[in-house]
Amino acid sequence: MKYTDEFRDAEKAKVLIKEIDKLVATIEIARSRPINIMEVCGGHTHSIFRYGLEGMLPDAIELVHGPGCPVCVLPMGRVDDCVSIAERPEVIFTTFGDAMRVPGSKKSLQQAKADGADVRMVYSPMDALSLARKNPDREVVFFGLGFETTMPSTALTVLQAEADGIKNFSVFCNHITIVPTIKAILDSPDLHLDGFLGPGHVSMVIGTAPYEFIADFYKRPMVVAGFEPLDVLQSIWMVLKQIKDGRAEIENQYARIVPEAGNNAALTAVGKVYELREFFEWRGLGSIDHSGVKVRDEYASFDAERKFAIPGVKIADPKSCQCGEVLKGVIKPWQCKVFGTACTPEVPLGALMVSSEGACAAYYQYGGVKKHTTVRAGSQPVTVS
């Protein structure tokens, strides 16, 4: 575990926390209200909970868990489309593990599997392509899901399938792009954000230039951050420093992985196979212009949407679900009307309760221990922060 443990050093963390404390004490706005920093990416949300970072930070910092969990923002109608493809007898439907439990309007892929659909968990789209090679009499569909992080791997798989002349492989494309979504959040009238932790793995592909508008137009600082706990703390410090200095810039904390210009080979593959959709429906956020991609006409034979008739029915989010407000940072997960009651990881009503990267599931599972301590009569409180 060399090269990761160095980024999990508790002693260095203490030093950083002290520096953050010092910095916060000098920031004017922190005296009247908390400083709201959104981590856009679900991977950061996961690290924050896994290492208990919220409890280590001063109360004056509120972390807002953003829309960067691709499993969470998948609308119900798209899950229904998945299930309808998966239930075709000729289809082997392949998916990343954590998409199995996302509820559709009638069932999840996990339930469809129990009902007899051939749904298989894979770890890479290339595994799905090998399945297609091994099962020439079946149609293998890969559930393409994720931001720019996973987009190149499905694009390359499509290119490989074409090069190898494989006809029984297709992608059900639900890839989404992060930048229009950040813009939609910034345009929201009830916005309370002071700065952003930028997504590390997405930026490894797209570079840092696409975020410039956040600093230039919206005057908010963003620091592209790594995923180890020291990365996250250092990035928070960098955002605070910008706030303190009155700067709004795009900085790159994760320079060991993220080149400013992104990854040209990955971008080329993506550009070859995909083009922007006019709009894409997000769970909790509604329809966002140019926020998703689809397979280009040249590769139509690898597009599950064209290969199979899908219902394509738009299903409204449940009325009681407040995922949208949580995603925009307007309310905290536990302030949602149905958090922990009608909506739990066992029976998720809203998308954020589904994946372990979803803010609500993370709170439920790992506990927002700082803010969410409950005390039962006769027992001593858990003192956590």
């Binding site: 968990m121 992080t149 599972q365 027992s379």
Partner: protein, 355 residues
């Protein structure tokens, strides 16, 4: 003189074809031959005089071991059947032996029921039966009764094994999941998550290579040593499916205590950490087949730890945390990084994260 001729000596049947067919479950000679050739010869070590429909025990002999019977059953379904460090046969014996032993019982007898998918190679079945026999010898138990069914292809996955165990608990020994008190020390007997990681690796669908072996082992001896060294032991649970996180939650809940563990003290192999890191899994939820979670009064924790460490199955034992007066049922972990988080029950199965 009119003497009766001696009963003909029972001769064990033999199977002469390489594959199990539905005929082997039909109740006729084919089935008798399969049971004789594969199971009886492995378990009984020769031809028993007579075969009854049930095993019979002398109550007085049982009572010499203690004053209460312990009785447990477990079904084993694992893919692949053979994996680094063990196989389904070993699991089926050790699993049930451990379920008895963690209650403080001396494991004595097992039953073995198998459901076989037609098409199974007899040689594979024989390997499993011999492995069970060896595991039973090692664990000091006898497999005394069993059943064999053969089902159509697709109706089960190669072979399912159910074992039921009987053991006896000595007088005065009262272990209970609801006996844990605030201040008690929480121990484990070694490196966690090896079995779960070994099985996931052995499935081979992740193109990950790691030299991780299952930890499957019979723990009755270790537990005997522990109970002698720490007679005040409150409770022992084996941390199989759901890992130690699940067991800790069950204990905290039943005993109405909080439990806090320390990530730095939690023994993990580097390979398992790396494996979990790549797949986005949490080692606290990985299955073990030779690991127990133990609660002892704080003053006995050193003696308990020393006893565990003295046994081969206790290498790497550690005190990982304590029960406390916090919110009853709540399990938390002090992270290596200096933060603190809740360790909850797993909802469904652990699914690898997307990126």
């Amino acid at each position: 003189m009119n003497m009766r001729p001696p009963p003909p000596k029972r001769v064990l049947g033999r199977v002469f074809i390489p594959t199990v067919t539905l005929a082997h479950g039909g109740g006729g000679k084919a089935m008798k031959d399969l049971i004789d050739d594969v199971f009886i010869s492995a378990f009984a070590g020769g031809a028993p005089e007579v075969l009854e429909d049930q095993a019979r025990f002398d109550l007085a002999a049982l009572a010499k071991h203690g004053d209460r019977l312990a009785f447990t059953t477990d079904a084993f379904v694992v893919d692949p059947l053979f994996f680094p460090g063990g196989d389904i046969g070993k699991l089926a014996v050790y699993g049930t032996v451990n379920d008895l032993a963690v209650g403080g019982a001396k494991p004595l007898y097992l039953s073995c029921a198998v459901i076989i998918e037609e098409g199974m190679k007899v040689e594979v079945l024989r390997r499993i039966a011999l492995s069970m026999a060896e595991a039973a010898r090692e664990a000091g138990v006898t497999i005394v009764t069993g059943d064999t069914k053969v089902v159509q292809r697709g109706a089960c996955d190669k072979i399912f094994i159910t074992t039921t165990g009987i053991g006896v608990i000595r007088p005065g020994l009262e272990l209970g999941i609801d006996h844990v008190r605030p201040g008690d020390a929480i121990l484990v007997n070694g490196l966690l998550g090896d079995h779960g990681a070994a099985i996931l690796c052995a499935r081979g669908d992740m193109a990950l290579e790691a030299s991780i072996e299952s930890d499957c082992a019979a723990l009755h001896e270790l537990i005997e040593l522990l109970l002698a060294a720490a007679p005040g032991t409150r409770c022992i649970r084996d941390a199989t499916r759901g890992g130690i996180a699940t067991v800790l939650n069950e204990i905290a809940d039943a005993s109405a205590v909080s439990i806090e563990i320390n990530e730095a003290a939690t023994p993990l192999r580097d390979e398992v950490r790396g494996f979990c890191e790549i797949l986005g899994l949490d080692p606290l939820y990985l299955a073990n087949e030779g690991k127990i979670v133990i609660a002892v009064p704080a003053e006995e924790s050193e003696a308990a730890l020393a006893a565990l460490c003295a046994h081969p199955h206790g290498q790497g034992s550690a005190v990982i945390g304590h029960a406390g007066l916090g919110e009853p049922g709540r399990v938390t972990m002090q992270t290596l990084f200096g933060g603190r988080r809740i360790v909850d029950m797993l909802v469904g199965e652990q699914l690898p994260r997307i990126c």
